[in-house]
Symmetry: C2
Subunit: 321 residues, 2 copies
DNA sequence: CCTCAATCTGTAACCGATTACACATTTAGT
DNA sequence: ACTAAATGTGTAATCGGTTACAGATTGAGG
């Protein structure tokens, strides 16, 4: 491994001069600069970030906390984060915390041990973070004074409600995600606002998790609990898919007998038959903009809004009448 | 931030004693140990990994290179890696390289700057890695002397071929993934071996990418290129899904008119209707065992096989007759 | 020609850990 | 009781960078 000392020696200058050349800081003579550049080139020198980080007490790494990478929504987020980070010279350290606050703590500790420069978290956000390091909540918002970026779930709910109503939904099942998650709550209130406004006939079916492996079971449950309905507002696309499958299996036609709307807009929602009408969350954008917000915070740039909300969008396909 | 020096002072011993206590190295008296432990507790000391890493020239971080996180197959891999890493005290640094070897180079350089202790790569593997750092190829195998863990794709191909034959496939379309990827090649050879053995009637439809946003287009293309067939062996589940959609749209029944088998076994493959019969790749296992192999290499434990192959499995659902 | 500021460069301290080495004290064996 | 080995502890060097500070050189202005 080539060190700055070797570069200095090869170039016939001191390490200070090499460092100044590297960082464009202080004065460096033309001659020296040239010699240093040649030395770096000849030796194939790559500065060691660990040493730099030790002195600076910060690194070019950001931590990303995700509740569940195997849920297809989060990789999209992650990709947005990764893209922005990479374009701006940051690395991302991944932490899969599975709604387990011990794991969350563990990662936060891990991160601090590595002089991480900021944290992006899509996890529960239950824990109180040490505010010594910039922190942005991703995809979840909270009341208190924390930077966050999320989807306007209330609006998403309204959109879903309107779409079902416009398609002539008469007896509607509303699947409501876990109400401990603020997004699910807002969504439900948006849906109900529209439904109530139209004085529609609906029932609420509460599901206590977003876990993908519970989807089938939940769908079966739904058909057992309710007998006659013509519309379902699902809590997300995975659950919508499970409901559709169960419906078709029971001989209902979609959307003629039962119409369904999802939430998220996953890759496969477009690919199934019939295509799933859904509310698209700008997952990639969320990740990208969240990363931008965090980097701005880290570099002490001006950040306009502490809380930004992105707009969801109705994607019309074939599962509504 | 609490440093080892402060702990030493508080405990009334030297930093060397604190360090020895921390690492269970060398001799530490009972009294001293107790005092140090109390100091750590009282002060809430957390050792700085950056400093340690500088001296040791290695860290407890491993790099994970993925071709595309948004492809639902890779998060499963990542989760396996993450779980093993986390259980053994390692952090994972994520790199999304998108089959772009410049990005790949960039990440490898980044990794080395951070004294990463090993690399796990599911990327092309075109580049020659600096063998100064332990390296394991994930999901892709190569001929040369490199550690790797992958699925037995040849067997996977055979399984798919047999399944189609057993289900009475007469005129078969074989979608072959990009032949530059060794897995796709092995799979094709496995399929063809079975098909030829049975003297079956088949056509090959080569697709030059696994990119998910090309799936629909490819499916339409397939139906334009061939007119009469009763079976499709898809290159993966996403493509299988796209083909199914196109088939249903064109009025074919599945599996009565056209039967389809996929590859991968994604989460949604179970949830669609009809359920997709497919060859399951043990993605999570791959990641988990790959991480284990890498950690063994890093810690210089005995590693039995340089190249391990995991067995794929036929998952029977409803898309075959 | 003199003075003061601007420019250039090197020495050494520092970041927070680990560890070689030296020295002191116990303990064990004969 | 004497010696050798085992045990305990601190000082200082080290890892590879950054930067405060001081000293040297150059240039501009009067």
């Amino acid at each position: 491994m080539v060190t700055i000392k070797q570069v200095a020696e090869y170039a016939g200058v001191s390490v200070a001069t090499v460092s100044r050349t590297l960082n464009d800081s202080g004065y460096v003579g033309k001659e020296s600069r040239k010699k240093v550049e040649k030395a770096i080139e000849d030796l194939g020198y790559i500065p060691n970030e660990v040493a730099r980080s030790l002195y600076q007490k910060t690194s070019k790494m950001i931590g990303l906390l995700l509740p569940d990478i195997s849920n297809p929504y989060f990789p999209l987020l992650a990709k947005g984060v990764e893209d922005y980070a990479q374009q701006n010279g940051y690395m991302v350290l991944l932490g899969n915390v599975e709604d387990n606050s011990d794991k969350e703590d563990m990662y936060v500790k891990f991160f601090s041990q590595y002089n991480i420069s900021g944290i992006l978290s899509a996890a529960s956000g239950q824990r109180k973070y040490n505010d010594s390091v910039p922190f942005v909540l991703l995809d979840r918002a909270k009341e208190d004074e924390i930077y966050s970026i999320s989807t306007d779930d209330r609006l998403g709910g309204e959109l879903a409600g309107q779409a079902i109503l416009n398609a002539g939904g008469k007896k509607i099942i509303v699947m409501a995600g876990p109400q401990s998650v603020s997004g699910a709550k807002d969504r439900l209130s948006g849906i109900l606002a529209e439904l109530n406004k139209a004085d529609a006939d609906y029932r609420i079916f509460e599901t206590d998790t977003y876990q993908v492996d519970k989807a089938e079971e939940t769908a079966q449950n739904l058909f057992q609990t309710f007998q006659s309905f013509d519309s379902v507002i699902a809590s997300n696309d995975v659950y919508a898919l499970a409901v559709m499958k169960e419906a078709i299996k029971k001989g209902y036609r979609i959307p003629e007998d039962i119409q369904i709307i999802g939430y998220d807009d996953m890759l496969f929602s477009r690919l199934m038959y019939p295509g799933l009408t859904t509310i698209a969350q700008p997952a990639y954008q969320l990740g990208y903009k969240g990363a931008k917000m965090l980097v701005d915070l880290i570099e002490k740039n001006y950040v306009e809004n502490k809380k930004v909300k992105l707009k969801p969008k109705l994607i019309e396909r074939d599962s509504l009448r």
